[in-house]
């Protein structure tokens, strides 16, 4: 709870505190594109290739995008890439065959589907990417539009919270998922922020690949805690990792003194944060509803030959015990941007931009 602890002024840079304070409050999308005419898109079909249909984060985003596109009469066909390139390529190829108006590849690094995407472009079908790599990255030529969560920012915010909470003396175990593309950007943001604002902090980085979460996250955490008993923060890149990390913390008997800070803000982990009983003490949440809408917006821009918005990110907000109490932790609220201050307004904002 960095906000109330009134840390020693010299230990924590004011910049960090200011940034935290601003992101602990609700904020609105600041990077809004121009309004544009969408009258031509009605009846078009967009293919949405989800990297892994069972990934709750991606599935939630997809559901919101579907809802958004339905507003303007665009149909979404969803196709599951099942976390492997064969199915992902299959989905894109299908999309081409079905004459999709656009193909959204959501999740993977677009380079891993380069050829199929190029084939789509060759067939006159624009390909967009979302939720995969940070929107600030240089994109390959075949990508017509990109949106993402602000990976670098969320990494920084997680670092800021820890710096503030520890009064600039944290020993952090940062756990990445190296085979998920966004993980690296987030790690970079986290480490750079730490290096910049917290010279006395220690960061140990460990990677556990997605396929090894269930088997190795627990062992990794227990080993790391044993190796360095002074570790007092653990920051996994994505909140579902806590389901394997938190038990290991409890089992190591460190439930009281190790705090977990993570990113995403999926409903269940927010609920868990609200109980206050688990090790998770802060969550950098992302407005997934908004992410779905901006992805839809970007798609519509591409469909209508409107220039795409650059650096198109969803909104992030830092949650901890200070502000989680204000939230309505229901699925409805999770779905309507109200945690981020945009209850109902997201749809309004975009429908106002989409001129029929």
């Amino acid at each position: 709870d960095p906000g109330t602890d009134a840390p020693a002024a010299d230990a924590v840079s004011q910049e960090v505190l200011d940034k935290l304070a601003s992101y602990e409050a609700a904020s609105a999308l600041d990077n809004v594109g121009e309004a544009f005419d969408v009258s031509s898109v009605e009846g078009k079909t967009v293919w949405w290739v989800i990297q892994e249909g069972a990934n709750p984060f991606l599935a939630t985003v997809m559901a919101h995008a579907e809802e958004a596109l339905a507003e303007v009469g665009v149909k979404l066909v969803t196709c599951d890439g099942k976390s492997n390139p064969v199915d992902a390529n299959n989905c894109i190829t299908q999309g081409i065959a079905q004459g999709a108006a656009a193909i959204q590849v959501d999740g993977p690094d677009p380079e891993t589907v380069a050829n199929a995407a190029q084939a789509a472009v060759d067939a006159g079908i624009p390909v967009l990417t979302g939720s995969g790599i940070d929107a600030s990255q240089p994109m390959p030529d075949f990508i017509a539009g990109v949106t993402s969560q602000p990976y670098v920012l969320t990494g920084e915010l997680a670092a800021d919270w820890i710096i503030a909470d520890s009064d600039g003396a944290a020993n952090v175990l940062f756990i990445t998922t190296p085979d998920v593309s966004g993980s690296g950007f987030q790690a970079q943001g986290f480490k750079d922020e730490m290096a910049k604002y917290c010279p006395d902090c220690t960061v140990t980085e460990q990677g556990v690949t997605l396929g090894n979460w269930a088997s190795d996250l627990g062992s990794t955490v227990s080993a790391a805690l044993a190796k360095d008993p002074t570790i007092n923060y653990i920051a996994p890149v994505f909140d579902p990792m806590t389901q394997f990390i938190n038990p290991a913390i409890q089992q190591a008997g460190r439930g009281e003194d190790v705090q977990v800070v993570t990113v995403n803000g999926n409903l269940p982990f927010m609920q868990e944060l609200a109980t206050g009983t688990g090790p998770t003490k802060a969550l950098v949440g992302l407005d997934l509803n908004l992410l779905g809408w901006i992805e839809a917006d970007q798609i519509l821009r591409v469909l209508t030959d409107t220039p795409p918005v650059s650096d198109y990110y969803t909104v992030a907000r830092v949650f901890d015990e200070d502000n989680i109490g204000e939230l309505d932790l229901t699925a409805e609220a999770f779905g309507d941007s109200s945690w981020y201050g945009g209850a109902g307004s997201t749809a309004e904002l975009f429908t106002s931009l989409w001129l029929k």
């Binding site: 249909g53 976390s83 064969v86 299959n90 065959a97 079905q98 690094d109 396929g211």
Partner: protein
């Protein structure tokens, strides 16, 4: 490990019944094909304008090349009475080697492919050596090998995403022949060669014999160990080819992402055993199984089904198809023997 199965009914036929043999055997030989046709008709009715179109069907076939090759890779080991769980691992390392050599270090693409396939063959040889000469159960060796190879691939790839593989190769693999990708025809050709070998050559028949009873095969003078080594190496080579095809057609790769293809490949190979010429050495059945499952997934996507539905379909299809085929087998056997 040796895997003994219920002998397929085809073998058990006698000439007692008066129904012609082809008719009696329809059920178990074409049970899965029947289920496939039902699925096909179902989707054609439900999604007439999208499913039953040439572009859709050719696109569906085109994208199955790598999976067909991987499922075919499972067959030689199974036919020889062994299980090779490292096929997805071999696919991973082969794809990674091609990707890293050509995509990152800009080694000539042909050379990269040759090296990748050599690596695959080497892995096949190590599996074979441990399973055949040392005598460790193949399922265990290859399970370990599978994880080992993914680890090594991550090490080779260093950065976890490989990009920039020669687009020429991609054009070759994805290029259309009769409307369908060249990679698909290549996979089909491999399947036909395997079929020919198992059905019409002495080596193929011998491997099948070994798969059923290695001890008697050895007593009959067959070079059991050599043939098993050969089977492991062919399995690995095919998995390596699957890796080449996947990286070529995608143009990039994340090495850890191919492991998830292991179960689908095995599901297809097992399902394939129940099709047309029931038995452990069934390349054509395996191809049909891959296409059957792909048809289902494709149709479900077009119907707008939720993603979980495709998992349910996949699982249920395997169970139902194999059960149907099994029941038909038992029926056929009962009719013709008793």
């Amino acid at each position: 490990m040796t895997i003994t199965q219920q002998p397929p009914a085809a073998r058990a036929e006698a000439s007692a019944s008066t129904t012609p043999r082809w008719l009696r055997s329809l059920g178990y030989r074409y049970g899965v094909v029947g289920v496939w046709i039902v699925a096909f008709v179902f989707f054609s009715i439900m999604a007439p304008t999208t499913f039953l179109t040439a572009t859709n069907l050719t696109a569906m076939l085109s994208s199955q090349a790598a999976l067909i090759l991987l499922a075919l890779a499972v067959v030689p080991a199974l036919a020889a009475g062994e299980i090779d769980l490292s096929v997805a691992g071999v696919m991973t390392i082969s794809a990674t080697v091609v990707g890293q050599l050509n995509g990152v270090w800009k080694v000539d693409i042909v050379l990269s492919i040759v090296l990748a396939l050599l690596v695959a063959l080497l892995v096949g040889f190590i599996n074979a050596f441990l399973a055949v000469y040392v005598g460790v159960q193949s399922i265990v060796v290859t399970l370990g090998m599978s994880t080992l190879l993914v680890g090594i691939s991550q090490w080779i790839a260093n950065k976890l995403t490989i990009t920039g593989v020669s687009p020429d190769l991609g054009r070759l693999v994805n290029g259309r022949v009769l409307g369908v990708s060249a990679g698909f025809w290549f996979a089909i050709a491999v399947g036909l060669v395997l079929w020919y070998v198992y059905r019409h050559t002495a080596v193929g028949r011998h491997v099948v014999f070994i798969g059923k009873n290695a001890e008697v095969a050895r007593l009959s003078g067959l070079p059991v160990q050599k043939l098993k080594v050969g089977a492991f190496m062919v399995t690995s080579l095919l998995a390596g080819l699957a890796g080449v095809v996947v990286v070529a057609s995608a143009g990039g790769l994340q090495p850890t992402s191919l492991q998830t293809l292991l179960l689908p490949a095995f599901a297809s190979a097992f399902l394939g055993q129940a099709i047309i010429d029931p038995g452990s050495n069934n390349p054509l059945g395996t191809i049909i199984a891959v296409l059957f499952l792909a048809t289902g997934i494709n149709g479900l996507v077009l119907l707008g089904a939720d993603t979980w539905v495709s998992d349910v379909f996949y699982g249920a299809a395997v169970i139902i198809a194999v059960t149907v085929s099994r029941i038909a087998t038992v029926r056929a056997r009962r009719k013709s023997v008793l």
